[in-house]
């Protein structure tokens, strides 16, 4: 059953770094990021693309990493929450998120951050993100209200800078 075709070598940019890896064709991108690259900031919560926890950016677009095979990202640029900022060096969006208390258990937070980041870069307004984009995520703790405030605060800093 293990024909040579079941694995494939892929090359991609992950958070700006060039990566070359051999992966099994059936491997999901979320699994590849977490298990092969150790980028555990990408959380998997539903495996169906419904909850948004595993959202990352592929070529700048906010997509579900549980709905892509790793081999489909060959030649693309992938960004995860680890690329957004790090402990002690948070991005303005991450900063806005905690300043407005948009997180509780934190499990859905990285996916939500990546969605907001992707949509903000592609020119969506704060209102569009609060309504439509945020509705692409399930958060069981916060009731979303503080996340909305954080989105507006983030946009205020973007316009301020």
């Amino acid at each position: 059953m293990n024909t040579p075709q079941t694995v494939k070598t892929i090359q991609l940019l992950v958070n700006g770094a060039q990566i070359e890896r051999e992966v099994e064709v059936r491997t999901l991108l979320s699994t590849f990021l977490r298990d092969d690259l150790g980028l555990t900031g990408t959380h998997v919560a539903c495996e169906h693309g419904v909850c948004g926890s595993c959202t990352i950016l592929v070529d700048g677009r906010a997509v579900r990493s549980c709905l892509l095979l790793a081999v489909q990202t060959d030649g693309t640029s992938v960004e995860t929450v680890e690329g957004l900022g790090s402990l002690g060096d948070l991005s303005p969006l991450q900063e806005a998120m905690w300043r407005e208390h948009g997180l509780q258990c934190g499990f859905c937070t990285p996916g939500i951050l990546m969605s907001i980041e992707g949509e903000a870069r592609s020119g969506s307004s704060a209102e569009e993100i609060c309504d439509e984009v945020l509705s692409g995520h399930v958060c069981r703790c916060t009731g979303y209200q503080n996340i909305r405030t954080a989105i507006h605060a983030y946009f205020a800093t973007r316009h301020g800078s």
């Binding site: 059936r26 997509v63 680890e82 900022g85 905690w98 934190g106 937070t109 996340i147």
Partner: protein, 1129 residues
Amino acid sequence: MTTISETPRRVSGVVGQAVPNVEREAKTSGSSIYAGDVELPGLLHARILRSTHPHARIRNIDLSRLAGMPGVIGVVTAQDLPDRMYIHHGGPLSDRGVLASDVVRFVGEEIVGVAAETPAAADQALSCIVVDYEVLPSAVSVSEALGPEAPLIHSGGNVPVRHARRWGSVPAEQEAAVTVSGTYLFGRQTHACMETNTVTASWSSATGMLDVWISTQSPYLVRKELAHVLDLDVHHIRVHEVAVGGGFGSKSKISEYEAIACALSMKTGRPVRLALTREEEFTTAKCRHSFEINLETSATAEGMLVRRDASMTVDNGAYNHSGPSVMAYAGQVLGSLYRIPAVNVDAELVYTNKQPGGQFRGYGGPQAIFALESQMDEVADQLGIDRVDLRILNANLAGDTTLTGWRIDSARLVECLETARSAIGWQGRGAKAPEGRGIGFAASIHVSGANIYEGADKSSATVEVDTDGRVLLRFGAADAGTWQNTVVAQFVAHELGIEPDDVQLITMETDATPTELGSWSSRGTYMSGHSVGQTARDVAEELRLHGAAMLESPVDEVWLHAGVVTNGVTSVGFGVVVQERLGGSLVRTREITLTNVDQVNRETGISNLSGAYSFAVHAVEVSVDEGTGKVKVERYVAVHDSGQIVNPIAARSQVIGGVAMGIGYALSEELLYEGGMSMTRSYIQYPLPRAADLPEIEVIFVEGDDPNGPYGAKAIGEIVLIPPGAAIANAVADATGVRMRELPLTPDRVLAALHQRDRKPKRNYRIGQRPSRWQIAVMRAWYPRGLHQFLHKFGTRWGRPAQRAELLAVETPVDEAAASAALARPGARVIAGGTDLLPARRQGLVQPSVLVDIMTIPTVGRIEQSGSDVAVGAAVTLADLAIWSQDQLSVLHEAITAIATEQIRLMATVGGNLCQQNRCWFLRNDFMCYKRGGVSCPCYAVTGDHRYYHSVIDSHRCQSVTPSDLSTVLSALDATVEISGGDRKRSMKVVDFYTGPGEVRLGRGEYLRSVVIETDKFSGHDYRKLNRGHGDFAMISAAVSVATDMNGTVTDARVILGAMAPVPYRVHDAERLMVGRTVNAIDVAAAAEAWCRRAHPLERNEWKVQAGAELLQRSIAAALARTQSGGKP
């Protein structure tokens, strides 16, 4: 041991301040380590083989095929474990082992654990284990379990607990002027924590130590259970600190999978990770118990409550867990809210062959309050007393002791009621409300930690100051997203005069913290406020004592500030103080025991369960769409008496999140089963509120000062979730005059109740006069009379599901010719966005060995416009088509933006949406149904729950529908599909593309290439959709296009109903009543109704006929209006 002696209140300092989350950076940077992120060398991945039957005897478990399987390292069955039951409720009520050894009692019960090098290898191993079952008769509902011929689920009978509480008596002078009664049904919900239950376990035979990283609210309770079932000393188990991705009660005790991972680690000698899948979480994690409560409330003419009589039946599921205490607590709530002289509660807990219930935020409170507070409105209305006034009249007051022995030391229920009334703007019943709007209230009471287990009245903490002046808190609870860690840091900071960020925390580590039972039963802030506060005060006192000596000042003239002891002139650092005076770190540990609580009395139900009781009043305004039955929450005010608020941000977050969860169970969330098998196994089948579904929630704290609460505080975590169901049902009653007694308030239930209110006649579908429907009508008639059981029992044995196949390759053709060639390979299938294909593959519906990725072919990824015609390539994403159509064809834009979510639309394609498999929750959830298994298998929707996603017109043997919203709107646009890949290119109308539910006219090797739309064919359009929540598939959709001539006469029309028939349903009846008439002469209502006589609904989806006609009427009217306004809305 210390009893509480001092309780400082009305403090100024860090307690009470809006302190940000102490874990803010870790959580926003993604660097928090959750249990599934713990990396250990040699880590194995575990999976669990679970029962496929609701009730069966295990004759044999054949593991022989696992021998020598590559990557499979260890297996455990019940034989490998000590013969122990989980402690759970304790005593004779303990009824569940780690792995089933003899009998399985629900679908999903654990039988075998497997550890392998990879998750895939573990999955492979599961498929090679053969369990020989002797299927036993099952009882999957309470009525079946209590029936005369009910099978015994456990040897002691199907009612493990029954009690009759008789509290108080009615004084002779109180005469009841009014008595209301009713039966209240409360469905099952699941916590749906974002992080599924996950554990990483590592056993060392060299040291005899078991290390466990687990997503839990209570490391110490998990350790105790693990030690018991694995026969280890508790001190040989170390639970470690991790981030916890939500709990809501589900992780407040052991979750019946951890021991399997531990046993596998002990057997293999390697670390093992076991992370439940979302499906396992939905189908096996302990859920909220469903209740049936028969309640009767009496009051005097003046509105004083006289008595309450309840009989409750609780669906326990297959095992006890916390069922006995959830039931007992619900009874106590009935005996505690409002002053009342007599309350009787008869209750029985009933085993059923379903996933067991367990502890869930609110713990029986939501069920009891739904019944109790619904009846308060009914009593008020019958007496002609204002609904809020009636509650104020009977409100609990400070100093009261309830019939159940709860000593109410502080209560601001009256103020909460008054505040809620004014914040929502309630003017009383007579006040004129906008059409379809209504306001409702509900109050609640809840404990601040219930003393229901040994040691639950105790809490411990250790506070250390080292010679560098650093402050460390050791506390054994876990923060599952409640801000517990921030709150405990605040207590320490408050007492030591430092910033919360300067308090280092060690939590959850059972080897490095004193015993603390954890964060459940709303005990987090209350208990830690006592223990952490007291310990920190001890440390502060010593620092002051020694510091004062060093500063040569009197002790009462020094204070602590920013890490120093100071007298205002000179200061000395904490580090120097402990170095100089103690010669090393200052370490203090205190265990506190509440002195004002009783041990729970399981005989009478009377005991002071908790140190303090919180109160809440929620006020809500809803709108009810009487045409479709859809209820929307428009405004929400939550008013809380939780004593002094320790951290307003954290408390407010708890309230908003809890209300969101409450709106979920009130309107949409419900676990559903058929024959003991779940149909709600993913977020898509269990719609929980999303951002767009929720109103802005206003939170008001009516702060008080509890005399026994730490810093005057009482609990907040659970009470937030108790009032929403009752408040929303009361608001619906206010809006419509209809009293809804079953939650959730789904459109079908609301519409049925409105129908009854209006005494509408039942529709007659005249099936007897429609020979084309006879075959299906006969089949449906025979299903409940044995045909379903016959096909289910015998026919499914011949079921032919898709053969499992390994995914070998993903081809990326560069042009259409290459794609055609690739698709000609056996097992080849198109992949585009993958949003349906990959989940469907996991669900066993498709098993491609080669995927042909058409996203790489430029010609099928383009939108090409020539004149008024536009050709949309199949690989165009919905997001791109939404952008294109915004200005060009707004109806298409409206339809697309109602599909799923923005992130899915960025991936999903036009072709994928049109060709998606149907969404029937039997098909998607592993039922061996007609569609999955073939002709010998039953359609489970005929007798199962078919309220939302099944057909009401023209159904075949499969009762499902084509779910694609795009198919509905493109049919209305009279669009054409172009098909490539076969012998020749061909095209057909979209409406003709479908042959059945999610079945399309594509031959082998063919693929959908593009869709062609004539954009100016019609001048007026409309699309609308009714779904269960934001992003969900349609229950009903309607799309209408109209063309008119110069005189305003309709020359052409397309009227389409989606999700109502196996294929997009073209409503010719309506079109005939429109074409040839001027717009103003069209009888819109008649056109929208015309198809109804052709309907053939199932028993429980007839509401879709009613709502479909309503939606269609709105859609036709809107399309006609637009054609008159030149296409503009």
